[in-house]
């Protein structure tokens, strides 16, 4: 029993209290994260929040000022004497701009990591063909990167990253250079592939939709700190604060003093009032028209096939967004009810959520 407290199960990838500053600018502030084997981790943050810095610290290209990096039970960087250089870390990396070798054919690009490992020629050919088959780029293997389409370049980059069957796959905004029309299908393919290969993956993105669709676990990075970790459902259903609520899924967040008078006049909501509330939020997809509801004036209305996207002015400085099933016209006065309400304190931290029937 005494021992149990000391035994610490180690995750496959662990960052412990990583800090990194550039001059006076503290990019990462005691960031810790863990990933289990075969887990798909997504670091979600606005641009300039240090997502790439985390990936670069995991890969060893950048060294942290403080903290430890552990991969597969081995401390690869303790921000002191222990430092395993990137070339020995066994990591596959997909760059935002793919960083393919321009002078090599697609085949040679994919084969390069295997050549560096001095695998026999036959083995290299076999493995490159296998992975090319998986990514459906077998027919362009003799093309130079400049002759490939953006999507094909990206697949070559992914193939190069996974062909050596690395311990870890890191991806830095891998879909941002892909045609938006193709993005969803490419994303789906990558997700299937990564699951099939069973490789532990860390991806950095600023796109919450990408994060939601790919991640087993999302980490939200803001001002150098990880402010929330959880499954996509957890993040969506219980955002820790107004920043996350707005960033993931774009919640309508209003100062409580604007909404409370309206709420108090509504019998259904009155019983829900909570102490010490600074902000109240609800999501567009959780709203419906209701004669007893909050009053607003429609200032914009767009038909999207499955729904009407409506902007309504309810007396706050920002209009609220609603998804409705019936048509409303601009300048109409409507009454609506949110079916799920989030309560935040004056600092913006989540206090409670209530679901209305």
């Amino acid at each position: 029993m005494v021992l149990r407290g000391k035994v610490r199960r180690m995750a496959f990838l662990e960052l412990r209290n990583i800090s990194k500053s550039y001059g006076k600018n503290r990019v990462l502030d005691k960031v810790s994260l863990t990933a289990e084997k075969s887990e798909f981790l997504v670091i979600l943050g606005a641009s300039g929040e240090g997502k790439s810095t985390i990936l670069n610290i995991i890969s060893g290209v950048i060294r942290p000022d403080e903290g430890e990096v552990v991969i597969d039970g081995q401390v690869v960087d303790d921000s002191n004497k222990t430092y395993v250089p990137p070339e020995l870390r066994d990591i596959g990396y997909v760059f935002q701009n793919y960083a393919l070798y321009p002078h090599m054919s697609a085949f040679d690009n994919i084969a390069f990591p295997l050549k560096m490992r001095k695998l026999p020629e036959e083995e290299i050919k076999k493995r490159v063909r296998e992975v090319a088959e998986m990514l459906r780029i077998s027919h362009v293997l003799d093309h130079k990167p400049s002759q490939l389409s953006g999507g094909q370049q990206q697949r070559v980059a992914v193939a190069r990253a996974i062909v050596k069957q690395p311990k870890l796959l890191l991806m830095d905004e891998p879909f941002s250079n892909i045609d938006p029309a193709l993005r969803a299908s490419v994303r789906w393919e990558i997700k299937t592939l990564v699951k099939q290969v069973g490789i532990t993956t860390v991806m950095a993105t600023h796109d919450q939709e990408e994060a939601m669709s790919l991640a087993d676990k999302i980490l939200i990075l803001h001002k150098g700190k990880i402010i929330q970790t959880g499954t996509p459902e957890e993040i969506y259903n219980r955002p820790v604060n107004t920043y996350v609520a707005d960033f993931v899924g774009g919640m309508n967040i209003l100062p409580a003093n604007i909404l409370i008078p309206q709420i108090e006049s509504i019998a259904e909501l009155k019983s829900l009032s909570v102490e010490n509330i600074g902000y109240i939020g609800f999501r567009a997809e959780h709203t419906r028209l209701d004669d007893e509801g909050i009053k607003g004036r429609v200032i914009g209305s767009e038909y999207r096939g499955d729904k009407w996207v409506v902007l309504a002015d309810i007396g706050s400085d920002k209009p609220v967004k609603l998804y409705l099933t019936t048509k409303v016209n601009v300048d109409d006065t409507i009454r609506f009810l949110p079916s799920r309400i989030y309560f935040f304190d004056s600092q913006g931290s989540l206090v409670d959520t209530k679901t209305l029937v």
């Binding site: 070339e87 321009p102 090599m104």
Partner: protein
């Protein structure tokens, strides 16, 4: 205003064409004749230069020494430039290397003539092609390092990081990734070195005393400074001959030259 700039252009073009044209005309002037433009035309001067003076041998020497010098420079400059541009070397070492390159590049080449001659003499390398090529490093080495460093600095960093993550050490990265994508930069360096050294006189004349290893530029110099009669026709013919390879070379690599000249600023 257009007419003024046109006039300036015409003057500049004439200042090139008139001496060059006169040179070509004089090279066809029969020996002993003193009228210009020549009344009679002859190829005697060319026969004399090639047949009697074996001037092609001197031109070959020039080419041979420059080639050797450029090869030595590349072997030294490529790793040096790469280290300056990219490797996390010790800061003091970095400053020392860069400082040395800039120092040598800005010194007048003649200031190093005596120590280099002294050195090569002790190593018994004077009067050898290798010795001349080594002395040429005064020109080629700082220039090549400087040009390649700026070229390496402009290469996308991600590609190198990608190579590192693919398991390539610094030497493999240089050989398999950096060098192949640096070929345009290396070609620029080679071209500029050939053009800069084709007329080199000072080191070529001092490092070599035997007639066997004299370069074309040195022979031309001797023709003018000879204590006997200056044979204008012969000298002009030799001059024209020595221009030809440079001319051919330039016409072949014209496209690369502008890139090479601006390469120092932006690869």
């Amino acid at each position: 205003m257009a007419s003024l700039s046109d006039a300036i252009l015409v003057i500049i073009v004439l200042s090139v064409i008139i001496p060059l044209g006169s040179l070509i005309l004089i090279s066809f002037m029969p020996p002993g004749e003193r009228t210009f433009p020549p009344v009679h035309y002859t190829l005697d001067n060319y026969f004399y230069v090639l047949d009697k003076l074996k001037f092609y041998q001197n031109m070959f020497n020039t080419f041979y020494f420059i080639t050797l010098a450029v090869l030595i420079s590349l072997v030294i400059s490529i790793p040096t430039a790469y280290a300056i541009a990219r490797l996390p070397i010790n800061y003091h070492l970095w400053v020392l290397t860069v400082g040395l390159v800039i120092l040598v590049k800005s010194l007048p080449p003649g200031s190093l003539l005596v120590p280099i001659y002294d050195w090569l003499w002790r190593l018994k390398l004077t009067n050898t092609p290798l010795g001349v090529a080594i002395s040429y490093q005064v020109y080629t080495l700082p220039y090549t390092i400087w040009l390649l460093t700026s070229f390496f600095l402009d290469l996308p960093r991600e590609i190198e990081v990608a190579a590192r993550l693919d398991g390539a050490g610094s030497f493999s990265r240089l050989i398999h990734v950096i060098l192949p994508i640096s070929i345009p930069g290396i070609i620029s360096a080679v071209i500029m070195n050939y053009l800069n050294l084709w007329n080199e006189y000072m080191y070529s004349s001092v490092m070599v005393s035997s007639s066997r290893y004299q370069t074309a530029a040195v022979i031309l110099g001797q023709m003018v400074s000879s204590e006997y009669v200056v044979e204008w026709g012969v000298m002009a013919a030799a001059n024209v001959l020595s221009i030809i390879p440079a001319l051919i070379f330039v016409s072949f690599v014209q496209k690369n030259i502008s890139r090479a000249i601006t390469g120092g600023i932006k690869g």
